[in-house]
């Protein structure tokens, strides 16, 4: 699972900063069949969480209504320098994670 994370490298304490996440995933709805008519089981990234220095600051629970290769964007308040960690898991149990460093001034 390829993923891209965009976190501003520098921020000032108290700033609202935008975090962007894009993950390559088919987000199989469970409503489709293959060429032989066999149902393709549902397989979507059902949970994605973002932790900021160990504290969860954002969580998304997704279902079959989310398009393939989901793209999420959200805002957090810059507190202190450290690390943002992203973890997600799909219905088949395949998990992925990414991390990004952030430098907060002030």
């Amino acid at each position: 699972m390829a993923a891209r994370i965009a976190v501003p490298a520098n921020a000032r304490r108290g700033d609202n900063i935008e975090i962007r996440v894009a993950i390559q995933h088919p987000m199989e709805t469970g409503y489709r069949t293959d060429d032989n008519g066999t149902a393709i089981p549902k397989n979507v990234i059902n949970k994605l969480a973002c932790r900021y220095n160990g504290v969860e600051v954002f969580r998304a629970e997704m279902g079959s209504g989310i398009s393939a290769n989901p793209y999420l964007s959200f805002f957090i308040v810059a507190g202190s320098s450290g690390e943002l960690r992203f973890d997600w898991v799909d219905d088949s149990g395949v998990a992925g994670s990414e991390r990004a460093a952030i430098l907060v001034a002030g």
Binding site: A2, A3, R4, A6, R20, A22, A68, N69, Y71
Partner: protein
């Protein structure tokens, strides 16, 4: 002249009429498909981060430096940094391959490199790897117009491609030209018919919910007119790719593009 001779003559004229080669023409003014997609898709393509095709480019970027095959060589071992070494390279494809004398596209060249220089197994035409590598290489020519040759040995391929473009096919009995040359800008169901340029490919289609090659796009069109779909990489598709490259004139490469 008897009636019989006259009708024979008419018949001969009709047959001759259909056999006359179509003249290759470009639509005027030339418009990239992105102008027909609507503001949201345009925004998606232009946003370097949100553009979903960039996930495949990311894959291609990694593959560029990853050693493969028996010789344990990567693309970068020979070509170096792609941002300089591959700049504008894709604008010259499809081209005549010097070693075989036949037409080859960018996908074909990557496959040839894998086989001859890396001693690696070929990639499947529509595989994530080949899509990623092709998109990564072609992206180094983003914004540049294609500069292909249709002279010399390429002429015959070009003419075959042009004939394919104007040939009626399938149950709907339509040629490429009926939609993309004669009726672009008009509605087909809810969609506006584009001029059918290949400049965004490999690209992300929202309909597919994934990345696809230009040849996959050809298959989609042929399926739409209920004609026989040829496998990706078929010689007919290479001819058509060359014709379309010529037909796109000075339109810039948009890979990795986004389309509806």
């Amino acid at each position: 002249m008897s009636l019989r001779r006259l009708s024979l003559g008419l018949f001969a004229a009709l047959v001759a009429g259909t056999a006359v080669a179509q003249t290759a023409v470009r639509p005027a003014p030339l418009k990239s498909g992105i102008e027909f997609t609507g503001a949201e898709v345009r925004a998606l393509q232009n946003d370097e981060f949100a553009n979903p095709a960039m996930l495949w480019v990311l894959r291609g970027t990694a593959l560029w430096t990853q050693p493969a095959g028996k010789d344990n060589r990567s693309c970068a071992s020979c070509h170096g940094d792609a941002t300089t070494g591959m700049k504008s390279v894709a604008t010259h494809y499809p081209q005549i391959d010097k070693s075989s004398g036949s037409l080859i596209n960018l996908e074909g060249r990557i496959q040839q490199c894998r086989e001859r220089r890396q001693n690696a197994s070929p990639l499947k035409y529509e595989s994530e790897e080949l899509l990623g590598l092709t998109a990564f290489v072609r992206m180094q020519s983003r914004g540049m117009p294609l500069a292909i040759s249709i002279d010399g040995p390429a002429r015959a391929y070009f003419e075959r491609g042009r004939d394919f473009y104007y040939k009626r096919v399938g149950q709907m009995n339509l040629a490429c030209a009926h939609c993309h040359q004669d009726n672009w800008g008009k509605k087909l169901g809810p969609e506006i018919i584009s001029q059918g340029h290949g400049n965004p490919y490999p690209g992300y289609r929202l309909e597919w919910q994934t990345m696809g090659s230009l040849h996959r796009r050809f298959r989609s069109c042929l399926s739409g007119v209920r004609a026989e779909m040829l496998p990706q990489g078929a010689p007919e598709y290479l001819d058509l790719e060359l014709y379309l490259a010529w037909r796109s004139g000075n339109l810039p490469v948009e890979t990795p593009g986004v389309r509806r």
